[in-house]
């Protein structure tokens, strides 16, 4: 298996390969030579410069490496080439197995307005909207007809990139320009479509698995309502407002769409659920999701291993009635973003890493001390997942895990996550996509008197240690530094 990705997800896929006794081949860009996925894999090959276009988006190069290294399949992970139908086609044309839905399915569902038509034909409700538009005047007229606020969405792809909410007509032109630009950068085509913005809605997604024989099961929902700029920060399952009836309704709708699309492999069908329980189809993500561990925690299934089995032509080893969900799980995405500075992404060297552990805690991470966080890629550093018998236990475990966790050297989203998990409305499960707004504008709290005292003490000791070391005529060999850094873990 060639793993065409980096970071925590590359490591996650390598682990699934090793669980199944499959050799894992990593690829890496110039700045990722020291990365954990390179070290965990059985073989590793360089694929080019740091810029994604030169390496992790360079499909031709990746397929060539797969051929030369003797790989028989390619797992794209998420992001990068995972939803690129041309890549899926090229992999198949090269006689290799693509772990994911075939190119034709990706093409159909990747064109977001085509996916909306498919949902409508499968009798699944969608928010009022338009076909792809390139003319601002026509778009403005459509917005007036639908009624503000409206969402501008790139027709060529999802994931929140290039998406803009427009509250009133005066803001339309500016938003249109920005969204067109971002859509062109992210998906290579400027076309946008309009959709009525569903206010105070919850973002709920349904995990599905489909084998090559047409069997489709749904595994349960994930709620992703804690978002910033349409990027997810916290996810959980079950959704706090999803009861058995709604879950069943979402599951059945997702399976209906998957069957209509002749779906294969793992996928996620996204819905908005408004305050009255109305369900609106959003899109299908034709890949493994970042937050897939939530579903794994409550079902006990290994989604990545199942992806590999399905890609190998095996039938789903269980039926819908065999799927059992137990307890609740929460995931926090720890990113290299400064929550005290508007979540500004940063890069730099990680000085200290301490990952939480203990009952119910799973950490999917690619962090190590001494790591230089590159600025070329997604700022996701690690995912902390907490599982409990119920939501309260999962929340308590997550709160504890976040307090335990240390990532220092660069700003991370940890302070925001600690705030969220201690917030009353989050603990009570009463929150929506506007939750992050409650955080914005906060400043870092002052050091306590005790912490300031010990910090000052340590500052003096650090300075003295350094001047003593300077006075000694010994060098600082790399192995000693590495050993020290290891000790910091």
């Amino acid at each position: 298996m060639l793993v065409a990705n980096r970071g925590e997800i590359a490591l996650r896929i390598i682990r699934a390969c090793h669980d199944l006794g499959v050799r894992a081949i990593a690829v890496y860009s110039d700045v990722d030579r020291d990365a954990l996925h390179v070290r965990a894999a059985d073989a590793a090959y360089p694929i080019g410069a740091a810029a994604p276009r030169e390496s992790y988006l360079n499909g031709a190069r990746i397929i060539e490496v797969a051929r030369r290294s003797g790989a028989s399949a390619i797992h794209p992970g998420y992001g990068f080439l995972s939803e690129n139908a041309d890549f899926a086609q090229a992999v198949a044309d090269a006689g290799l197995v693509f772990v994911g839905p075939p190119a034709a399915v990706q093409r159909l569902l990747g064109e977001k307005t085509a996916a909306r038509r498919l949902a409508r034909e499968a009798d699944v409700p969608i928010a009022e909207g338009t076909e792809p538009l390139t003319d601002v005047a026509a778009a403005k007229a459509a917005a007036k007809r639908i009624g503000y606020p409206v969402l501008l969405k790139p027709a060529g792809g999802g994931g929140g990139k290039g998406m803009r909410k427009v509250a009133k007509e005066e803001e339309f032109d500016t938003a249109w320009r920005a969204a067109t630009g971002e859509a062109t950068t992210a998906f290579g085509q400027p076309a946008l479509y309009l959709e009525r913005a569903i206010e105070n809605a919850r973002h709920v997604e349904m995990q599905i698995l489909a084998d090559q024989s047409g069997n489709v099961v749904w595994l349960g929902e994930r709620d992703c309502s804690v978002q910033r700029r349409h990027q997810k920060l916290i996810e959980e399952t079950p959704g706090p407002s999803v009861d058995d009836e709604l879950r069943e309704r979402l599951g059945v709708a997702a399976v209906r769409i998957a069957k209509a699309a002749h779906y294969e492999n793992a996928g996620t069908v996204e819905f908005l659920v408004d305050a009255r329980g109305n369900v609106y189809f959003l899109e299908v993500n034709t890949r493994l999701q970042v937050e897939h561990p939530l579903t794994e925690m409550v079902t006990g299934l290994d989604l990545v291993a199942l992806q590999l089995r399905i890609a190998a032509g095996e039938r789903l080893p269980f039926a819908q009635g065999d799927v059992v969900r137990s307890g609740a799980a929460i995931e926090c995405r720890i990113t290299a973003e400064d929550p005290y500075a508007g979540f500004l992404p940063g890069s730099g060297v990680i000085a200290l890493v301490r990952e939480p552990a203990g009952p119910g805690i799973r950490v999917d991470s690619a962090l190590y001390p001494g790591m230089t966080v590159p600025n070329e890629y997604d700022p996701l550093l690690a995912k902390v997942i907490a599982h409990g018998r119920d939501r309260a236990e999962a929340v308590a475990r997550m709160r504890r895990a976040l307090a335990e966790m240390r990532v220092s050297g660069i700003p991370t989203s940890l302070p925001f996550h600690r705030f969220a998990l201690s917030d009353e409305s989050f603990s009570a499960g009463r929150y929506d996509t506007t939750f992050v707004a409650q955080w914005e504008g906060r400043a870092a709290p002052e050091l306590s008197a005790g912490a300031a005292s010990v910090a000052a003490l340590a500052a003096v000791l650090a300075m003295r240690a350094r001047s003593e070391r300077r006075a000694l005529p010994v060098t600082d060999p790399a192995w000693a530094r590495a050993a020290r850094e290891d000790a910091l873990r």
């Binding site: 000085a351 220092s408 504008g441 005292s453 650090a462 300075m463 350094r466």
Partner: protein
């Protein structure tokens, strides 16, 4: 030996005596200091509370204090006597630096403008996202050091604020 330590914007006086006696702001404290990684990490209990401090960088000195990133500057007795003054972090002049390399899309202020803390000052495009850079403190714009359209490196000074 006496030291003055500046942590972000607060001053703490430390005295290290014989046999591990410490005083903080002229008060002798019961601190148990264990060096857990030589020259880089300490576990310190102070009046029963457990703290952990790790050096992030030595120059400039940055510490992780119970998970918080703190900038520190230390001035020792001799330097204090020599009149080098307290360890200041150049109060009164606050620089807005590019947190990462990118393209400066827009600068929203000009020299002489008054700004409140958190006011948007410039837009930096990086990682395919447009990021609003906000004023770290209120004050008057003393200098705009980079123009819209410029490619800037991480750490480049963009705007200088004469803070209140």
């Amino acid at each position: 030996m006496r030291y003055e330590v500046t942590l972000d914007d607060r001053l703490v006086r430390i005295e290290i005596g014989d046999r591990g006696r410490f005083s903080v702001d002229d008060r002798v404290v019961a601190a148990d200091v264990r060096e857990t990684v030589r020259g880089r990490q300490w576990s310190i209990t102070l009046e029963g509370e457990s703290h952990e401090i790790t050096v992030i960088t030595h120059d400039p000195l940055r510490l992780d204090v119970d998970g918080r990133d703190v900038r520190a500057a230390v001035v020792d007795e001799r330097a204090l006597r020599a009149g080098r003054g307290t360890a200041g972090l150049r109060a009164g002049r606050v620089e807005l630096r590019a947190p990462m390399p990118g393209l400066l899309k827009a600068v929203h202020v000009k020299e002489g403008d008054r700004v409140e803390a958190q006011a948007p000052l410039a837009t930096l495009e990086a990682m395919k996202m447009e990021n609003e850079l906000r004023a770290p403190s209120s004050g008057r714009i003393a200098k705009v050091a980079a123009a819209a359209g410029a490619k800037v490196d991480a750490g480049a000074v963009l705007i200088v604020i004469a803070s209140d």
